[in-house]
């Protein structure tokens, strides 16, 4: 495989898995914080948003400390399952997922809060269980907003540099993602490769922005205000 496709495919794999993890966690926390009122809710919100504003290297350092061989989580994983995340593509997924998570979480919470509470009450009065209310009413109505957030999260995960480098390093073919490969190409003076990679990265970002914009426009956000 050419030196452009290897980091591209790796990046798509890492960003895809990271987005999936962020999606599951983001929808869960978004629903929880949108619907359950508890003491210190906005403090929890701030903590969940922190990965978005924190320098990626700082976040990467925290993850390295936690997941490293002597870290509490890393040691436990190593001891019980023989799993090591540092300098692996799975480690890169974890790093990218943390960075991308707040984008899904914020979008999901806003989408859930946007839903007219009467629609869920209507479902209950029609005999829906809480699970049916969520699957048939809440989730379909919030889905466009959540998906738009997931698209942005995917773009963010794809461009992830700092945290990934801290946790997974830059092993060509194994953990060297698109963004890191661009940096390495420039460092090595390989302008041709850098140009190719930069054009690919830019194209993906434009596609993601257009798609997420359309998702938000096509949402029920507008249709619901009749």
């Amino acid at each position: 495989m050419s030196p452009t496709t290897v980091p591209l495919l790796l990046s798509l794999k890492v960003a895809g898995w990271a987005t999936l993890l962020a999606l599951v966690a983001g929808v869960g926390f978004g629903y929880l914080l949108a619907r359950v009122k508890f003491f210190g809710r906005e403090v929890v919100d701030a903590v969940l948003t922190l990965p978005m504003v924190m320098p990626p290297t700082v976040l990467g350092y925290y993850l390295l400390v936690l997941l490293g061989k002597r870290g509490p989580i890393g040691a436990w994983l190593q001891e019980n399952f023989g799993i090591n995340l540092i300098f692996t593509w799975q480690g890169a997924v974890i790093a990218a997922a943390f960075v991308a998570f707040p984008l899904v979480y914020k979008a999901a919470r806003a989408a859930f809060e946007d839903i007219d509470a009467n629609l869920e009450k209507a479902g209950r009065s029609l005999g829906f269980s809480e699970a049916k209310v969520f699957v048939r009413i809440t989730l379909p109505l919030a889905w466009h907003g959540i998906l738009a957030g997931a698209m942005l999260a995917f773009a963010r995960a794809l461009g992830e540099f700092g945290a990934t480098l801290m946790v997974a390093g830059s092993l060509p073919g194994r953990t060297q993602t698109l963004s890191i490969a661009i940096y390495e190409a420039v460092q090595a003076g390989d302008d041709n490769l850098a140009n190719h990679l930069v054009i690919i990265a830019s194209a993906i970002c434009i596609v993601v922005l257009v798609v997420s914009g359309r998702l938000l426009q096509g949402g029920y956000r507008r249709a619901v205000r009749y």
Partner: protein, 249 residues
């Protein structure tokens, strides 16, 4: 229908306190709860529907207990089998008219509509003259069509009681009287007891057999029909003249 509703509910919002403390006992099939906005009408109806749990008291219908504060009984809304028509109709915007009516008839996780459910859905579409609109989304409907769809959805599951929150308020005035007449026909046809809340005197003149006036979270009046509603010029409070007073006074 024998309804007993005796509840207390305290609400605190932004430093303001509102107490709902109502006691209603009735045997009527057509109860209208009347009061100005902010009186506690919707809260009362939502407690009856099971959306909101009162702090204390008791709600029972035909000797079936739905809420009992001391014994911590609270039957959830989904198990009460009441139809509820919201003021803005709360139709599911992501589902078509047919979907709105059919969704409550679907069974299981695969959302199957069996033959009986499909027949019921078709009946409802026909009865409410919605066949041509079956594939339309709520945002494409007029006010009157939305109201018909909301009624069709609420009645599809064969509820034992119909609760209506200002069902005519969202319609333009010209349409209101027509819809009230259609509604009366419907009521005769289904023989379904109803509790309706409103701040429109015309609703209680035409629809109520029994009137409960709520103001400031309390029942201020409870009358049997016939009665006449009168809103004196410039006054917000309703004056109700009980006992056979003729409309042509």
């Amino acid at each position: 229908m024998k309804l007993e509703l005796s509840i207390i509910k305290d609400l605190h919002a932004r430093g303001r306190h509102f107490r709902l403390d109502v006691d209603v006992r009735t045997n009527s099939d057509a109860v209208v709860i009347y009061g100005p906005s902010g009186a506690g009408k919707t809260l009362t109806l939502q407690c009856l529907a099971g959306f909101v749990a009162p702090d204390a008291g008791r709600i029972s219908i035909d000797d079936a207990t739905l809420f009992e504060g001391a014994q911590r009984i609270h039957v959830p809304a989904r198990a009460r089998n009441f139809g509820y028509v919201f003021q803005d109709y709360a139709l599911f915007p992501h589902l078509t008219v047919a979907g709105n009516i059919g969704v409550s008839l679907q069974k299981g996780w695969l959302h199957r509509l069996d033959d009986a459910a499909r027949a019921r859905m078709e009946d409802m579409l026909r009865l409410f003259e919605l066949q041509d609109l079956r594939d339309s989304y709520p945002s494409q409907l007029s006010g009157g069509q939305r109201q018909r769809a909301a009624l069709a959805r609420a009645l599809a599951t064969r509820p034992s009681l119909l609760l209506l929150d200002e069902p005519f308020a969202a319609l333009d005035p010209a349409l209101r009287d027509r819809m009230r007449h259609e509604f009366i026909e419907l009521r005769e046809r289904f023989k379904l007891p109803m509790v309706l809340i409103t701040h429109d005197p015309a609703d209680l003149e035409m629809l109520a057999r029994e009137l409960v006036v709520i103001d400031g979270g309390r029942v201020t009046r409870h009358d049997l029909a016939p009665f006449r509603a009168e809103v004196p010029q410039g006054a917000t409070a309703l004056r109700v003249i009980p006992g056979g007073a003729s409309r042509a006074a």
